[in-house]
Symmetry: C2
Subunit: 396 residues, 2 copies
């Protein structure tokens, strides 16, 4: 059989292939993006399961509406209205099968083959995969320590048929950086001049251990703002619950139509249970526990990097989230380092899949949320040993 | 903003709009395709939830693999091997977020814009919606009482770039018909000559109250066979669990890549729970209960139609499943009948959305699974009254 161009041109996920290699329990893996299982409130979710079934019986098991469980959408709207003073309603929200589905749906309703998407460089590889299904043209703007490079963003927006800009403003995947207040305002001033959507994908925003929560770039003030959220990093990824927020009614209507074609609706049992959990438990206390755990794990990694890495190696220092981004000396290959690291049973994600048009880059991503501090120190120590011992030539 | 061609050309679901109208509890609705809530084994699912969490803890709540929970895929493979003597393995199966997602994924990996899809006429509207996202060209073959018209199928297959044929061989949606053994063999003989896939979508196959289970058209013998199944009609639709079976390894690999881009993986909690339910309960006994309920409801509807409908109205007599298909005299409009029926608070789905290129048709779908027999009789009586009283002219 002959397959579609879109799938022939979509490589199978780099990260998922790495995860297969790292399935070996002897490997210290900084490769995945798995939340620490401590972040799953299993006992309380069990209570919410019982409680939801008692209260709503068959409704948890029947077909349901495409937009999602109304009380859950109301809860989400209230959260943003309370936290940021926005004026969001339940009808501005669609519950999705993880934020991954949200990314796919947005591209489906906006992008014709060849249309433009502006990506952060480096950018989230799951987004690149989801958008690829619509065969877009990618344009990049460099992601700096405080957010997108403004001149490059303006330049990218000059290209024809740009449909949207994709950003992860808080504790970015893969770099861990957070957009500054000033950069957010500067981006807003640029984007509002163009007829494009601005996606702010924010699965990690609640996981901040340093500094103050910042207002979004476009949410609450930009006509074509699309905000994405998720319960995967704060309650459970296994339930596959994310959501789209937009005040653009036409966009929401089209996304609803597309979602109906894609999976009719998201698992309604999971929506009832999460809603019950959120309204009957101290969610913030739970998140605070995750934050203090991740802060400790991030510190362990940063301290070990300070101690064991050569000073020529640069890396980010995140204020929250799950990732650190490492930059080797110019010309070095993170892929070659990966092969050497696997020999000493340490894994990470080489930077390549986070770029739409670069290969054999000198950057890589480290995840710190799924290993004990002592294991983190040991893994970084091994990586540092390679970086010191291997001659620069071997990595070029 | 300018939206994509694919979404601008996808009308919002007819049926979902009807379901909004019929939200009124006074309306007798034969419109939806909802299983009777008696088909949800809630107590046993609760036991399986407890049991699965005790046995597997955080694994129910963590990220998981795209293909789905291995023991569930093994269970499904065994079921087909036992029932039909096939040789299916877990690796030939991908768990999907309902069969709706399966339909979307298949089109994504096979269809470029303009490529051909052969549909039954009439055909399942959810499939039309899912396929529409890839902007295909639809070709139709008439669905007769025993399956697709063979000459029309052969003729459709002459068109350029046909990628697949879509069928619902058992208790078809919307018509309720089942393909005969002879027609299955005849279709197999035609299809095997072409480099196309044959989709057999079978959510209702287990719900048979008359006659013997038949072998599939292509599954087990056709190289590019794709079989779809679902737990929505026999356990719970709320969990959104369906699956794809194909022995074509390259196809399965591409679908896996596409699914990863679409939602990473299907809710893993639901997969563990369904698997535990299936292996620890008498599934067939449960299905037998659903069958005897639906048989009684179908009889109630058919008896009432015999009693109250004019003899000029023709309809199918299903051996299982959830639907009956009604054909009015030539030239009459089911849409016009729908408006009159709503005046007496009875709803059904006019045939239009089940055709890719016809409107104002003289056919409509009745669902019998979600009303008590007495309510079914009352609803059909009201419909019959309209059909007798209204002059033919008013429906033209």
């Amino acid at each position: 059989m002959k397959y579609s161009d879109r799938i022939v041109n979509t490589p199978p996920s780099f990260v998922r292939n790495i995860l297969k290699v790292t399935g070996n329990p002897e490997v210290i893996s900084f490769a995945g993006g798995l939340p620490n299982p401590i972040s799953f409130p299993i006992d309380k979710l069990q209570n919410s399961i019982q409680h939801s079934i008692e209260e709503n019986g068959p409704k948890l098991f029947q077909y349901s509406t495409t937009a999602g469980y109304l009380p859950l959408r109301e809860y989400i709207a209230n959260k943003y209205n309370n936290d940021f003073g926005y004026e969001i309603e339940a009808d501005d929200i669609i519950i999705t099968t993880g934020s991954q589905e949200a990314l796919m749906l947005i591209a489906q309703v906006l992008v014709n083959k060849g249309d433009g998407i502006v990506m952060e460089e480096p950018g989230y590889l799951g987004a690149i995969q989801a958008f690829n299904l619509t065969e877009p043209t990618f344009y990049s703007a460099t992601l700096e320590d405080d957010g997108l490079n403004i001149e490059e963003l303006e330049k990218a927006l000059q290209n024809p048929n740009i449909k949207f800009i994709y950003t992860v403003p808080n504790f970015h995947n893969p770099t861990g950086i957070t957009y500054s207040k000033e950069k957010r305002d500067a981006i807003y001033e640029v984007v509002k001049k163009y007829d494009v959507a601005l996606i702010e994908d924010d699965p990690y925003g609640d996981l901040r251990w340093n500094g103050e929560k910042l207002p979004y770039i476009g949410a609450g003030r930009l006509e074509n703002s699309i905000l994405l959220g998720s319960f995967s990093k704060t309650v459970t990824p296994g339930f596959r619950l994310g959501y789209i927020v937009s005040k653009n009614k036409e966009l929401i209507r089209h996304i609803n139509t597309a979602k109906e074609a894609v999976d009719l609706h998201t698992n309604i049992f999971a929506q009832y249970v999460i809603h019950d959990y959120l309204v009957n438990n101290a969610y913030q206390e739970h998140v605070d526990k995750i934050i203090s755990l991740y802060r400790e794990q991030a510190s362990a990694m940063l301290n070990a990097m300070e101690k064991y890495f050569p000073s020529t190696v640069k890396y980010t220092k995140p204020d929250g989230g799950m990732f650190i981004w490492v930059t080797l000396e110019e010309g070095m290959s993170a892929l070659k380092l990966f092969d050497k690291a696997m020999e000493v049973k340490v894994a990470f994600v080489p930077g390549d899949p986070f770029y739409t048009d670069k290969t054999n880059v000198n950057t890589f991503r480290l995840n710190f949320t799924n290993s004990e501090p002592a294991v983190i120190e040991e893994g970084i120590k091994r990586l540092g040993k390679i970086l010191h011992e291997v001659s620069a030539k071997e990595l070029v």
